[in-house]
């Protein structure tokens, strides 16, 4: 098809040029309007500066700066005071400026947070394998196992967690209990379906041992109350909701008062065992790593490996364990001092005579000693960061005695200590405060006092208040370290801020509770220079919330990790999107 045109081609061309010019002009104008206006803070003046900036903008700038400004929100800096309607300026993933009256560069991307709250990203001090695919064991390295597209990262960001301290190997919150050989030996063909079941007369069905050697125990005795008539009496091994604890075989066998549960690991301490029992778990240290929840951004994920030195629960309990531990620490310290002396000698130009051979022989001896002492962290070298106080020793301790023991060991051997659990820590708050030992604490965790020690054991609802008034630092951990939206809602990581709110219920102030999920865990991991508060020079891990961070009604609207927006509530649809009235 051809269009016969009677127009003069020159006129047509001119018209086309005019139209295209007009179109381009309109586009330019549109872009000017659509761009976020450089927001003027009250302290700066408009006019000349704005003109200057426009002039600057017209100059070709080859280096593209990566600027982001969060403007108008109430900035909870955590370590400083709350800045009302403040500005946070981010450059290349770091916080460049915080405060009011900060000039926003013309080329900065601006996020309007007016009427909202800006806080540092939360730090989950206990987190299962989120952002990691597969098991980080053996030759599989953490940096290769990172998964920046793990959907759980979005859930973590949805509640504001931007950094997590994950436990490697297994990721079930517990180290492996057995060495490889023992695991095989302990394997039984037991599954959920053929667990020993109690019959109605209160005895396990499948007691195979000599009945005379077992004291008979009835269900009433076991549970501490009398059954009503007609009440069904089916009890199984495992979690018993009425009993409130795990019902174990030994409790069924020996009765509740004769069976003390090991408070750190939950295994029964049988009456036939010696007073200082052998540790129930192998002394393979647990491995923790700090992972940033930078969704889709592999490069920023790994903050630090081995943020704690963490013996398995019960690993420093008992005379033998403590002896081994003291010896290991002494050897490591000697090796460290010798290395330092050698380095100093080398610096002075005096090579130690036959130093290399002696070194290697010493090192071998130490390795052998370490191997003999139960394969602790591949020798004394793993202890060096602990003794240099670059990392803390994190260990599960819940009872008064355990906590006191751990404090005494830490004082004696001179390293930093972090108490994990701390159910009875409220009873030793002054000692914790004196020795500057922080606690990883779960406010909603409950434990009944032991019989006869009603006032001096068990959990207290006022723990967090007692901690604060005594000056004990505490980080809040959720009841479960995982994200499991189907099973234990309200107890998993997605309610970490709510767990911190329970710290407020226990008597702590709002700010202390906020510190407990930001700067305190950051300090525990030795990362207080990078995360945990809004300060100049720190990583730009920020949240924009539509209310107070500890309010159950608040949602994270935007999560910024390493200066990049990694979560937006309307887009990511982790939480329901609607406007609350």
């Amino acid at each position: 098809m051809r269009i016969k045109s009677s127009f003069n081609p020159v006129i047509v061309t001119c018209f086309l040029i005019f139209v295209s010019q007009a179109y381009l002009h309109a586009q330019d104008g549109g872009r000017g309007r659509g761009a976020p206006q450089p927001i003027q803070s009250p302290a700066t003046e408009q006019s000349d500066e704005a003109n200057d900036r426009e002039k600057d903008a017209t100059n070709p700038t080859p280096k593209k700066s990566n600027l982001l400004a969060i403007v108008g929100g109430d900035v909870y800096t955590v370590t400083g005071e709350v800045i009302r309607r403040g500005i946070v300026l981010i450059e290349n993933g770091k916080i460049k400026a915080v405060g009011r009256g900060i000039e926003i560069p013309h080329d900065a991307e601006v996020i309007d947070a007016s009427g909202q709250v800006v806080t540092p990203g939360f730090v989950a001090i206990t987190m299962s394998n989120i952002g990691v695919r597969g098991n980080v064991t053996g030759n599989n390295r953490l940096e290769d196992a990172l998964d920046p597209y793990d959907r759980n990262i979005k859930y973590a960001l949805g509640v504001g967690i931007t950094t997590g301290c994950i436990e490697l190997a297994g990721g079930r919150g517990q180290g492996r209990r057995f060495r490889d050989g023992e695991e095989q030996a302990a394997t039984e063909d037991v599954d959920m379906m053929n667990m020993p079941k109690l019959s109605d007369d209160g005895e396990p069905n499948d007691v195979t041992a000599d009945p005379n050697s077992i004291r008979e125990v009835t269900l009433d005795e076991l549970r501490g109350y009398t059954l009503r008539d007609g009440e069904p009496e089916h009890r199984y091994l495992g979690i018993d909701p009425e009993f409130g604890e795990y019902v174990t075989e030994s409790q069924l066998d020996y009765g509740i008062e004769n069976t003390q549960m090991c408070p750190c690991c939950g295994l029964p301490i049988l009456p036939t065992e010696p007073i200082t029992p052998a540790p129930p778990s192998q002394e393979q240290p647990r491995r923790f790593a700090a992972i940033k929840m930078s969704y889709g951004n592999l490069g920023d994920m790994l903050i630090k490996e081995n943020v704690f030195y963490s013996p398995a629960p019960g690993g420093l309990t008992g005379a033998l364990n403590r002896h081994n531990w003291r010896r290991d620490v002494r050897q490591a310290r000697e090796a460290m001092e010798k290395a330092a002396a050698d380095a100093a000698g080398r610096a002075q130009g005096q090579a130690p005579a036959g130093g290399n051979q002696a070194d290697s022989r010493d090192a071998m001896r130490q390795r052998m000693a370490a191997a003999a002492s139960g394969n602790r962290a591949g020798g004394a070298n793993a202890l060096t960061p602990l003794l240099k106080k670059e990392v803390s020793l994190r260990i599960t301790a819940n009872t008064v005695n355990e906590i006191r023991d751990m404090i005494a060991l830490a004082e004696e051997l001179d390293y930093n200590l972090v108490i994990d659990g701390g159910i009875e820590a409220w009873l030793v708050a002054s000692e914790l405060s004196k020795t500057n030992v922080p606690v990883i604490f779960t406010p909603r965790q409950r434990r009944d006092p032991r019989v006869g020690e009603d006032e001096s054991s068990g959990s207290s609802i006022e723990s967090t208040g007692i901690f604060e008034s005594n000056g004990v630092g505490f980080a809040v951990a959720s009841l479960s370290p995982s994200i499991s939206l189907d099973g234990i809602a309200g107890r998993d990581l997605t309610s970490l801020p709510l767990e911190a709110a329970f710290a407020v219920r226990g008597g702590a102030s709002n700010n202390t509770a906020l510190e407990a999920i930001t700067i305190v865990p950051a300090r525990m991991m030795g990362l207080q220079d990078r995360i945990g508060s809004i300060e100049v020079g720190k990583d730009a891990d920020l949240l924009i919330l539509n209310g107070h961070p500890l309010d159950y009604r608040s949602y994270v609207e935007t999560a910024i990790v390493a200066g990049k927006v990694c979560y937006e509530r309307p887009k990511d649809r982790v939480f329901p999107v609607y406007d609350r009235r």
Partner: protein, 437 residues
């Protein structure tokens, strides 16, 4: 009885004659392929700069295309085949046909202890890089069902295993034979998950470390000469290195020539990554390797999330032609369109998904058509089946388009290849028909 015997004798007497007759017929067949054939009045998707030609003629002689066009002069001796109303496109090139599956079972169990008791729970086994599969070495076509791929219009394949190795290229034939392979020295391929053992398979050869592991052939370690250690110490040291990375060390030695070409960017490396995390790790490995070209086979559900990382790199994609569902949502995605929007080159693999071919009997391009219906450009979609994989495999001089000088690998469709109900009528490879429907 006697009669029967006579008949048998008669047959035996006739046998040489029969054999002669058959050989004459075969010779005639040979003759036919040497003969010039003119496919006329066809709609031709040339996939070349000529684009789509209506009422065109394709001239084929000796397995090659002699001429294509609207005004081609048909020689007098040519056999003329009229394809009125039918569409011709180049034979499909399958860039990733898994020829050998290593028996990896996912039915592993793990023993966990809880409260002093042990339980068996299902688990996934750690990555095992497996052996290095040189496809041409054990190519045995007779037990492999090539017909199901031929029926889908696949004319040329790149044979791989689901582990790692060196691929081989093959042309489809009427009967499977060892002569199918036309390139035994194909491309290096590897499967990638985000585990150290898997990443090392690619990372170590791309970043050869002269001081650790097995030194590349013809290269001496710089430290060895300086310290002047005896050869025995050297050997034991390298032996230790190999112990630490046994698989990668061995592979580096065996295929150093191919890896060197990969590092130079002379040939592509095929990587099969099944999730976005593995893609992120691949991008990280390639960040200091600007020359390396990678053909990334991506089949996992959340791979679309990593497309922004792929943009601007030397990575081209092999996609499964389907409307994918985003994980954890009901949203549908057209990954091919997303790749096209980001200017990432991509090809389709019809065989990557299980049983996809059976679902689209006679209309093999139905899944591609659905992508075109939802926004993918038609030209890119057809190119992703033909010319793009040809470029990926480095055989674009002879394959991938309908142009003079290239092999006559042609598909004849009843109508438009991307229309429902348009059946694949005939598959022609190197001038001879290998399948007719």
């Amino acid at each position: 009885m006697m009669m029967r015997m006579n008949l048998h004798c008669e047959l035996f007497r006739l046998l040489p004659t029969l054999i002669g007759l058959v050989s004459v017929l075969l010779g005639a067949h040979q003759l036919a392929s040497a003969q010039t054939v003119a496919y006329t009045h066809a709609t031709v998707e040339t996939l070349s700069s000529h684009g789509r030609l209506e009422n065109a003629t394709i001239l084929v002689r000796s397995g090659k295309i002699v001429d294509v066009g609207v005004d081609v002069k048909i020689p007098d001796e040519a056999r003329v085949v009229s394809l009125m109303g039918q569409t011709v496109m180049p034979g499909i090139i399958e860039p990733y046909l898994v020829y050998k599956r290593t028996a990896v079972s996912s039915e592993e169990t793990e023993t966990v202890t809880f409260g002093g008791r042990s339980f068996q729970i299902p688990t996934t086994r750690a990555f095992n890089p497996g052996s290095f599969d040189t496809i041409s070495e054990y190519f045995y076509p007779y037990s492999f069902d090539f017909l199901r791929y031929v029926r889908a219009g696949v004319a040329t394949v790149n044979l791989v295993s689901d582990g790692r190795g060196l691929s081989a290229f093959a042309d489809m034939t009427v009967e499977p034979s060892a002569d199918m392979l036309f390139e035994s020295n194909g491309l290096l391929f590897a499967r990638l998950t985000n585990e150290t053992a898997s990443i090392d398979v690619i990372r170590n050869p791309l970043n050869p470390r002269p001081t650790r592991g097995a030194p590349p052939t013809g290269q001496t370690r710089p430290g060895a000469a300086a310290t002047g250690r005896p050869a025995g110490a050297e050997a034991s040291a390298s032996g230790q290195g190999q112990e630490q990375t046994p698989q990668s060390g061995g592979a580096t030695n065996a295929n150093e020539a191919q890896w060197a070409e990969v590092r130079e960017g002379k040939r592509a490396l095929i990587v099969n990554a099944n999730n976005a995390a593995a893609v992120a790790h691949l991008v990280r490995i390639l960040s200091n390797q600007p020359k390396v070209k990678v053909v990334l086979v991506v089949t996992g559900p959340n791979v679309y999330e990593a497309l922004d990382q792929i943009k601007g790199t030397n990575i081209s994609l092999v996609l499964k032609p389907e409307i994918a569902t985003e994980p954890f949502s009901a949203r549908r995605t057209n990954v091919a369109k997303m790749a096209a929007d980001r200017n990432i080159p991509f090809a389709f693999s019809l065989t990557v998904g299980a049983n996809q071919l059976e679902n689209t009997w006679d209309e093999p391009l139905f899944p591609v058509a659905s992508l075109v219906k939802t926004g993918l450009s038609r030209e890119l979609a057809l190119a992703a089946l033909t010319s793009t994989p040809a470029k990926m495999l480095g055989i674009e001089n002879n394959y991938g388009t309908i142009e003079a000088g290239k092999y006559a690998n042609l598909l004849i469709f009843q109508g438009d290849p991307l229309t429902t109900g348009s059946r694949l009528k005939q598959v022609i490879v190197k001038g001879s028909s290998i399948y007719a429907n």
